[in-house]
Symmetry: D2
Subunit: 302 residues, 4 copies
């Protein structure tokens, strides 16, 4: 239930105002503008505004007087070239603004990306809603034995339910106390900036998050990775689909040269050459650690 | 002569494409979109794209689902409050992109503002035009005697003309050599990345410069200042008028609380209180240096 | 109880290794290096490393080959001049690194300053300690009636105790659940990256925070302000005293031209001139809002 | 001739002051501290100050109370892991400050890296020296035919000499005019901020440049690349050797996972798997453009 009826109405009304503009406009993105795309149990992502399109990347790379674009094939070639050679500045010329609702512990992970503009809903100034993230059973997993910062096996159904109840009960209880603390009639009327400390970290917050295309892709490349925590990956995946609606050529290049690309270390490059020359390479004679060797094998054999 | 006919045509054609958008749109800025506003002898500033308007500041400050704005008076009050108390993040939610043509020595001063996105015309890749800045007589000034980094008296007409000729002759000669160095038929066909080193610092370059509203105002507040070099101030003044077309409420607050505002040091505040209480304050008993005292007097007596 | 015995020993051992260096060294800061200065009930700040001193500011401003400093009076004058005229780059040439322990809800406020480097203790990777912030009675205050984001009257002793118990009970209960969730023997052995969501926002976290002198002063000027939340101000005050040990001349200039300085709006400057000329100025004829007028009066009359 | 005798003396005197510090200290870097390492004909790089060492990376990654390091093999493993997985924040915890003298056209390329602190010698405030970069014959190259932003064949000796004379004559003439313009006795005494526009882009400037280890490595990875312009690569190479003196473990990881590493696109990874499975892959059936295919072949066959 990411939205109340009142919010839905507000969004719909907002979407009914249109205007004429000379700016680059992307119909596929206009179509989903303002719409809340649900993520997790109460979260969402929605695009609030954007600046630029695929052509704006080309235009900036050429520092053009006019539209700056030529044939589609040439423009595509240029965008792919820029992506491949990490010429990042033309991608910085596009900008997008999101409204995102997300659990606080994920917001804390997210905010570490410093190259974005943020306005967060202030619990110093306002009162947070009674909404907390509770993982669905298929995302309730045990600590990974091999990876100190990852998940292992999914919990069995019964245990998952128990965990869910524990999380829910504590979150509710803490929120009840929060409300009580704020109460000026029957409670102490505690300052909001203090009362908020009683909330649990799965409480939802929300923010406006504005970022340029280069930094958005950097964020996505890190957070769409299988090693990223599932809860932030869920947001990244939705945002990748928004990226594809917005700048389809850049998005395709991004998937080719970043998301799906693989970096081989100096040692691995030497090993590759040996393998292609028919030499037998084993972990023992490779010079790679066990961990690196496993990563290497995984890439080579899909 | 900031534009060739071909450039003018390109710009005009670009401005004829319009589209329908749900995004915030500012008619006053649409009207001047793409248009080159001349600065100095060959330079210009033109707005290429923008994101957001006054209402977007309010919307971000409120982290709204819909438009987020209320009564005009309330919105104005909020924007002024945010400006006064240096709550900068809502202003970061608006973005603007300029195309600017400027002399290299000014570009070097400008680029020190790091919180913007830049794509500069590459003299490694392309050939620069034969255009250099030559100050008009009223801006030809002697070194200031009192301020090591400022100008003093304007040169007399005859001297100014002589200086202009010296600057022009060297620039032309250097540009001629540049062209000769690049010449693959009758010259050595030197690499562009090398040949460019022969140009003088008043040669014009151009770039796309994209910045958020908060950082634009910070740039303007520093560069519109009477202590800023005239040549960069000329750009800042044009951009301030563009700011006024774009976000009139924020621009008015900016002029009230930044451009026209004055900061008094801790000591000055104490002195002010004494003066208002009728005490006589002199430089000798003020605790201010001669220089600070002069600055103080200048503010107090306009 | 900000430190365990083991931590205290580790810190002491660390402080016993000394080396000879040609780098600028500040004896007053060396003396407190590594030492944990307590803040709030379980928090602390300690300086871990630093680069530069007052002379390094002067040296950078002069782009010197050698030490770059001259007479103390000249150097002091230059630093004050740079501070007064907001020439920020020479101050960026000094850097300091802190180790800070602080409640999560304060860490969330703090992290909004993006121009610093941060390494936070990861609750994805490790287990957080059973420590949460509980305000002391004199900091337990009701919501302010006049300021939506501030505190009003301090709670009476009895109510403060009740509030403290509510906060403590919820924090303990949530932490107990957290431990239980992580338990691989008698609990579900939930992944750390999930279990952490059950903690309350007053749980302590810690990080390494590295920042240059310019950005540190910007942070301090905002967070030492009476409008800042008490809990972050407590850290800012300790850090200001560290600033004074590190760069005494810059710190004095900072207090004179920033902390103790006051900015008057364009309208206020005009009013001030009228008042000094003997005219009677009232809120009604001032053009200031009631709120601005009150702020103005407060500055003028101390 | 990068240094005058006076400068040499200043540097030497500076290097004679030593102090005792508890901070991490790197003897190999102390040894070269302040020393000017020549680059190009009149340029240099010298390390002025530094913060942190290899152990400081480990310490930050562990958010330690004490030294934070364990066995050398464990620390090395951690640093390599952080580098491989692009965990950049621990590398941001080290900082280094350089004094660099370089031609203006290279400074313009360099400054595009925005994540550093810079104090440049001001030609608004001071007078630049009569020193300009003149490429040595082996670096005088024709424009590349295949790469729009690169060099092709080296010029023959006679042509190189001619080019050198052209560059030198224009630079000298422009500098003579500059001096004449500044002359208050026999010239117009033009303001320095104006006179500087007459200098050529190969004139030397200098700055203090301070950067964290993560951003230094990013800079080096881009500028040490064979596609980077020779003149900036010359600086990058000297700075890489300084990196090796400072943080040998991080530097080795940097060479293994960045400088010597190769990124394969999604398509290339699929092709590689086919090749290792014995399939014949040609440009025609590869799905790669001619250019990408050539790059791919070059990596695979060294």
């Amino acid at each position: 239930m990411p939205l109340t009826d009142a919010q839905r109405t507000e969004i719909e009304e907002h979407g009914q105002t249109t205007a004429t503009t000379k700016r680059p406009t992307v119909p596929a993105l206009e179509e989903i503008l303002f719409r809340a795309h649900p993520v997790l149990d109460h979260g969402f992502v929605r695009v609030i505004d954007y600046m630029g399109d695929d052509a704006a990347i080309v235009q900036a790379a050429r520092v053009s007087y006019g539209r700056g674009t030529r044939k589609v094939s040439e423009d595509t070639g240029l965008i792919r070239y820029l992506m491949r050679h990490r010429h990042s500045t033309p991608f910085e010329m596009c900008e997008i603004k999101f409204h995102i609702k997300l659990p606080i512990f994920i917001a804390r992970q997210w905010i570490r990306h410093r190259t974005a503009n943020v306005n967060e809903y202030s619990a110093r100034y306002s009162i947070l809603d009674r909404e907390f993230y509770l993982p669905s059973p298929e995302h309730m997993a045990a600590q990974s034995a091999s990876n100190r910062q990852g998940r292992g096996d999914v919990l069995d159904a019964e245990t998952a339910t128990k965990v869910m109840h524990l999380l829910r009960d504590d979150a509710i209880r803490c929120y009840d106390t929060y409300e009580n603390l704020l109460d000026t009639d029957n409670g102490p009327g505690l300052a909001r900036e203090l009362a908020r400390m009683n909330l649990t970290l799965n409480t939802y917050t929300q923010w406006y998050w504005k970022v340029d295309l280069h930094n958005l892709m950097h964020f996505l490349s890190l957070r769409i990775d299988p090693h990223a925590q599932y809860e932030i990956r869920a947001y990244a995946e939705v945002m990748l689909s928004m990226l594809e609606a917005w700048v389809p050529i850049a998005a395709a290049a991004f998937k080719e040269y970043r998301v799906g690309a693989v970096t081989f270390s100096a040692t691995m490059v030497v090993l590759l050459r040996k393998m292609l020359a028919g030499e037998t390479v084993t972990q023992e004679n490779s010079g790679l650690s066990r961990r690196e060797w496993d990563e290497f094998q995984k890439v080579l054999h899909g």
